[in-house]
């Protein structure tokens, strides 16, 4: 039966202290801080980060389906999963879909992936990410967090087998957002708690445990996520789950990560799981889905490169004012520079491998790695003796850098770095997630997929360098 083969997660570098929001707005502060996607990140770019990590455990060519789950897709029309797949270097012969509309989309995507594997796909990839926006003064502005998780589902060498699933779908009004609206509306809390989420969650949890003939006390780890946090608490109480068995919800460190939240909690819980452990995952939203996992001995052999805990530790603050500018909630004076041009479709198609995959070339004649891709070798001048050469996972060091205070940016100064890759290749690109005054020649960097800017509704994705995390 299908199960999780590998997984990855992503927490953006920036943190916003909730007290800083409260201080500006004069509202009550929730404890802790929340993760904030940088001005050059969105749900697609964060999903790419998590998926690249998850795919380290699986040969990309064996993936036959990709499901991207988010409530904040960068494109309302245009397949967001296609961008994720291109950046993660998945093959083009692949089924791909966006799942959206509810925070339940993340777990729904895992169920779809499991179905694909059960129907014969060798592997199906799931990437879930969210960058949920709430209006200033909303409690959700403080409690939301931006993050991503990704899973590769397969039938062999699974680290956690899917023992049972259950779903219920109910039409009720609690959270809604019409196209074009930036902030979601919510109904009164008691209604959703008593009439919607608690009954839906209780129902799917009862069903999935019954299918596996399991008592709640036999669960090693429990992950329950609901738009209304009290609904999760009530279910846990009703099931008599010991608080020690509840997976860390990262409430004080990351925040509620929308469609990615349950996946993020699962990615956080898996490293400590022991063979035979039962893990329950249940998510509410216009009904609920539940998934019961049984951890296998193979779990001991897989470790993602980045753990959730490690990424929580790797952080830098962002001020509330900068956050409001990044999200364009606070309009600012435009620069006296032209708006960037939208990238053009034909050149983007021609350079798909380069733009989305950061695939350069290496000269077969002299072995020199080079980027962007070339036909005539920069070193030996040999023509058309090039092989594709991926740079995305290679580390590099800063040869020199420039702080550009004139270039258009939501987060000036723009930091440009000249970097030299391990194994050859030099590139001039932007640097992100850094403190400009601390950059030094010789610093080690790694590559990250980002949204450079948006022009005429076209999101321009490409790669930047960032300090090694």
């Amino acid at each position: 039966m299908a199960g999780i083969v590998s997984y990855g997660s992503y927490v953006p570098y920036r943190r916003l202290k909730r007290a800083a929001i409260a201080q500006v707005l004069g509202v009550a502060a929730v404890k802790g801080e929340r993760a904030v996607a940088s001005f050059d990140e969105d749900s697609v770019s964060m999903a790419v980060e998590a998926l690249r990590d998850a795919l380290r455990g699986t040969p990309e060519r064996d993936v036959q389906a990709l499901f991207f789950a988010t409530t904040t897709p960068p494109y309302a029309e245009k397949l967001n999963a296609a961008i994720v797949g291109a950046a993660a270097q998945l093959p083009s012969e692949i089924r791909a879909a966006d799942l959206t509309g509810s925070v339940r989309a993340g777990l729904s995507a895992m169920l779809q992936a499991a179905d694909a594997v059960n129907a014969g796909a060798q592997h199906a990839a799931v990437a879930m990410a969210d960058c949920r926006l709430a209006a200033p003064e909303a409690r959700a502005e403080q409690t939301n967090g931006d993050a991503a998780a990704a899973f590769v589902i397969g039938a062999h060498d699974v680290i956690a087998e899917i023992e049972a699933t259950a779903s219920v779908t109910r039409e009720f009004l609690d959270i809604w957002r019409a196209p074009g609206e930036r902030f979601a509306h919510t109904w009164e809390e008691r209604f959703a708690l008593t009439q919607a989420y608690t009954p839906a969650l209780s129902g799917v949890i009862h069903n999935v445990l019954a299918k596996a003939n399991l008592a709640p006390s036999e669960l090693a780890r429990v992950i329950i996520d609901a738009p209304n946090a009290r609904a999760a608490d009530e279910c846990l109480r009703a099931l008599k789950i010991d608080p020690g068995r509840v997976a860390d919800p990262f409430a004080a460190t990351i925040g509620q990560a929308g469609a990615a939240h349950a996946g993020l909690m699962l990615a956080g819980a898996l490293p400590a799981a022991k063979p035979g452990d039962r893990i329950l995952v249940a998510v509410a939203g216009d009904g609920a889905d539940a998934l019961l996992l049984r951890v296998t001995p193979a779990a001991a052999h897989f470790r993602p490169r980045h753990s959730v805990g490690g990424m929580i530790e790797s952080k830098g603050d962002v001020s509330y004012a900068a956050y409001l500018k990044w999200r364009e909630i606070l309009p600012t004076e435009p620069p006296r520079r032209p708006d960037p041009d939208r990238p053009a479709a034909p050149p983007m198609l021609r350079s798909e491998q380069w733009k989305f995959g950061l695939v350069g070339t290496r000269c077969i004649a002299c072995g020199t790695a080079q980027l962007p891709p070339q036909r005539v070798c920069v070193k030996c001048r040999t023509r058309d003796q090039m092989e594709p050469y991926p740079f995305a996972d290679r580390r590099a060091r800063i040869a020199t850098f420039a702080l550009d205070r004139l270039a258009y940016s939501l987060n000036p100064p723009t930091v440009n770095v000249v970097i030299d890759f391990e194994g050859g290749g030099r590139f001039l690109c932007e640097m992100t997630d850094c403190e400009p005054e601390k950059i030094a020649i010789g610093d080690e960097v790694e590559m990250t997929f980002r949204r450079l800017f948006t022009a005429d509704g076209v999101h321009n994705y490409f790669w930047k360098a960032r300090p090694r995390r």
Partner: protein, 393 residues
């Protein structure tokens, strides 16, 4: 490289140059008419005496940009563009046309109207692309030179800042003596050092002036020159080099040199028969788009041995009263940098200096002058070097 040159085969017999600056009251047409007619008058010719034109401009499109306002009567007008070296490229083409015998009299003219855009700094339009070309402005890309040079030659950042600030100070000091310069006053070195940061360590005062302007030259074969005037100037060398763009791709490149400039200087010196530029060149106009550029150029052009230009700067070697005055007219820094016009503006200063017409900036009896013009960025640029003299041989 087989670059034979056209030493002493072409002469400049007339030039014009508008003041550079904020010409809110003048259009591209006005600037072209002003520069062209000053050049006609300078050469003592009428518009119909010019057989062919080369127009250098980055933003003003075709030959019709010139032929329409001047009402040129059905003659060839070629628009050329080669980044910030555009004006020099138009001169080079006009010189070759005359040297070949195809035409007797040609005009090279360059123009740019930058102030109408309303933007800060230079904006270079890009063809449709895949969105991966980067977002680096000219000051930031040239700022890469400064830390690399300072580190390689052991200058701490404060000392390095002193050196580049002194280059700006010198050019403003020269420009203060020039009635056609955009900025006509000396600037205290502290004001330069403390100017608002644009691309660390460069401040606003390390950047060339964004301006409007035009300049023009009339060229004829050297044998015909004395028919036009008794004091023409002669082309000794014209070199233009486009690099393969290795800098941003090759880890060997260290951002302390422009290989294209080294190549074009070497070529120009060979054409002109110059063995020791530090001794033989009387004065130079170089492409000081940003102060570290001028520092690196001194070494690339052989004015200073490697690693020593900063010392020459501090000792005043390149000052107006120094052994080798550089940018006596104020340079891009103080005279201003309307892209297509700059290369011809540099030549205009040679025209004045070699003929003793530079007024308070006059250098004592110059014999050979050099202009250097570049376009692009460190590691990936085009470079032009000319040598001109006041006598044949």
């Amino acid at each position: 490289m087989a670059s034979k040159g056209i030493k002493d085969r072409v002469a400049i017999v007339g030039m014009g140059c508008t003041p550079f600056g904020e010409h809110w009251d003048k259009s591209v047409d006005d600037l072209l008419i002003d520069a062209a007619y000053e050049a006609y008058e300078s050469a003592g010719i009428n518009p119909e005496d010019v057989d062919a034109y080369w127009l250098g401009t980055m933003g003003s499109l075709s030959g019709l940009t010139l032929s329409t306002p001047l009402k040129i009567p059905y003659r060839p007008v070629t628009r050329v563009e080669n980044f910030c070296a555009t004006g020099s490229e138009s001169l080079r083409q006009a010189c070759y046309a005359v040297a070949s015998g195809a035409y007797d009299v040609a005009m090279a003219i360059g123009v740019e109207k930058l102030k109408d855009s309303g933007y800060s700094g230079l904006v270079v339009p890009q063809p449709p692309n895949d969105g991966t070309l980067g977002n680096i402005t000219p000051p930031a890309s040239f700022s890469l030179l400064a830390p690399a040079y300072f580190k390689k030659y052991g200058l701490d950042p404060d000392k390095g800042k002193d050196v580049i600030s002194r280059i700006a100070w010198k050019n403003h000091r020269n420009g203060a003596k020039n009635p056609r310069a955009q900025f006509r006053k000396e600037v205290p070195i502290e004001a330069i050092k403390n100017s608002p940061k644009v691309a660390d360590p460069l401040g606003v005062m390390d950047c060339s002036g964004v301006s409007d302007g035009a300049a023009a030259a009339i060229v004829v074969r050297a044998e015909d020159a004395l028919k036009y005037r008794k004091d023409p100037i002669y082309i000794k060398a014209l070199s233009f080099i486009a690099g393969p763009g290795e800098g941003p791709m090759s880890p060997e490149y260290d951002f302390t040199t422009f290989p294209e400039v080294v190549a074009s200087a070497k070529d120009a010196y060979a054409q002109a028969g110059i063995k020791n530029p530090r001794q033989e060149i009387s004065m130079a106009e170089v492409h000081d788009c940003f102060t570290p550029t001028e520092l690196v150029l001194y070494e690339d052009m052989g004015f200073s041995p490697r690693g020593t230009a900063w010392r020459d700067v501090m000792e005043g070697f390149f000052d107006l009263e120094g052994k080798l005055p550089v940018n006596p007219d104020g340079g891009l820094k103080s005279f201003g940098h309307p892209i297509g016009a700059s290369g011809l503006r540099m030549m205009y200063e040679m025209w004045l200096q070699l003929r003793g017409e530079a007024g308070p900036r006059q250098i004592d009896n110059p014999r050979l002058g050099l202009t250097h013009n570049l376009g692009g960025a460190p590691g990936r640029c085009v470079s032009f070097v000319s040598v001109v003299g006041k006598s044949l041989g």
